[in-house]
């Protein structure tokens, strides 16, 4: 008797194509994850429930931690222009080489007198912890503080080059004493920068 063969269909799917797609997507996401710059002042931001993201350009970040204030602003052209303006304001000449090196520096915090030294250093040395003492926030006699100048000149540079109003954000350490933050806020208020953002990490409402 002829045996009725039940055709057995194979249920195994060839997953090679799916695997290829998955690794392609993975490569894309790994490459678009921008590598974080090492910060000279690591700061632990406090948490809050607000979910608004910061804009990427035309925003200066004042990092406040351990009594020091560091300044950073994105945009190589703005940094270059800012350095030239600060040089004029404080009577310091910066060479073309120094201007180029400064325009790739991210966050920094030194009195203007030591700026040339910091520019000359290499990236890893610069960002060593404890090396940079922070931008001075106290005013010298009638002259406004250096931080005031940095913020003011950066606002000028942003307006001239990008025709935008520069925004200011404050990235403070959670355990920083309030008077330090109040000093920075006062410097901003004295320039009529009454709106700024505080950088926080995310948390839920139940705490």
């Amino acid at each position: 008797m002829p045996r009725i063969k039940v055709p057995r269909k194979s249920t195994a799917i060839d997953m090679t194509a799916m695997c290829d797609v998955a690794f392609l997507l993975l490569t894309f996401f790994i490459l678009t994850a921008t590598a974080r710059q090492p910060e000279p002042l690591p700061v632990d931001t406090p948490a809050s429930t607000v979910k608004i993201k910061l804009p990427d350009t035309d925003i200066a970040t004042l990092t406040v931690g351990r009594g020091k204030v560091f300044f950073s602003i994105p945009g190589q052209d703005i940094r270059r222009d800012l350095l030239e303006k600060m040089g004029t304001a404080y009577g310091i000449e910066f060479t073309e080489e120094e201007k180029k090196r400064f325009s790739v520096m991210e966050s920094f915090g030194v009195p203007i007198g030591n700026l040339k030294q910091i520019i000359a250093m290499k990236g890893e040395e610069r960002n060593k912890e404890g090396l940079q003492p922070g931008i001075p926030v106290d005013s010298v006699g009638v002259r406004p503080s250096e931080l005031h100048q940095w913020v003011y000149q950066a606002r000028l540079a942003t307006k001239e080059l990008h025709n935008q109003d520069m925004r200011v954000s404050i990235k403070g350490d959670a355990n920083e004493k309030i008077p330090e933050i109040q000093k920075v806020i006062e410097i901003l208020q004295s320039q009529n920068v009454n709106k700024f953002s505080l950088i926080t990490s995310l948390r839920g409402e139940d705490y």
Partner: protein
């Protein structure tokens, strides 16, 4: 999962010993799962690593103190930020507070409950939901930055009519000292 199919070589009968052709079929499902897990991880970490921003607007520095004080006392709540992650609050003016100053913690069961209660009371009193609580936040020297952010967070959650960050007065520092919140 991975199967080694050794039956292909069999069936041939012959004197010579032939090397059996083994066909290997590897099931790639696990590898795909892993790849998608990694994708999800990278997708979430690159967007979450962008810091969040909490906007603040400060009053103009040149505005005189007097102008700020001409607001209804019975709608104003003053919150003093003390040390040890605690706050002290009262309604009205410091010389004669409308409620005795009370100490609270941050968070849902602490200051948030008080804020929500008072906001409801004020709305009931004025009868106008647009005219609700006014909050004055006075950070003391002994408080931390995270305390300020926590209180501003509460403002974002509770949504009073207005709030402002102002300087603290001497009598209020005395209040804090009395409760041991000024270390």
């Amino acid at each position: 999962m991975a199967e080694l199919d050794t039956s292909g070589g069999g069936g041939k009968k012959g004197g010579k010993i032939r090397t059996k052709k083994m066909s290997t079929r590897v099931d790639l499902t696990a590898m795909v799962d892993l790849a998608f897990l990694l994708i999800t991880f990278f997708m979430l970490t690159t967007t979450l690593s962008k810091p969040q921003a909490m906007d603040i607007a400060m009053p103009d520095k040149d505005v005189k103190e007097q102008q700020q004080l001409t607001i209804a006392d019975n709608r104003t709540m003053t919150i003093l930020l003390g040390s040890g992650n605690r706050v002290e609050w009262y309604m009205g003016a410091v010389e004669k507070p409308l409620t005795p100053p009370q100490v609270d913690n941050y968070g849902k069961n602490g200051i948030r409950k008080a804020l929500l209660e008072k906001k409801k009371e004020v709305i009931a009193m004025t009868g106008d939901p647009a005219k609700s609580l006014i909050v004055l936040i006075k950070p003391s020297e002994k408080s931390k930055y995270r305390n300020l952010v926590d209180i501003l967070d509460e403002m974002a959650i509770v949504k009073p009519q207005t709030y402002a960050i102002v300087d603290i007065f001497e009598p209020e520092i005395e209040l804090l000292k009395r409760e041991g919140l000024y270390q």
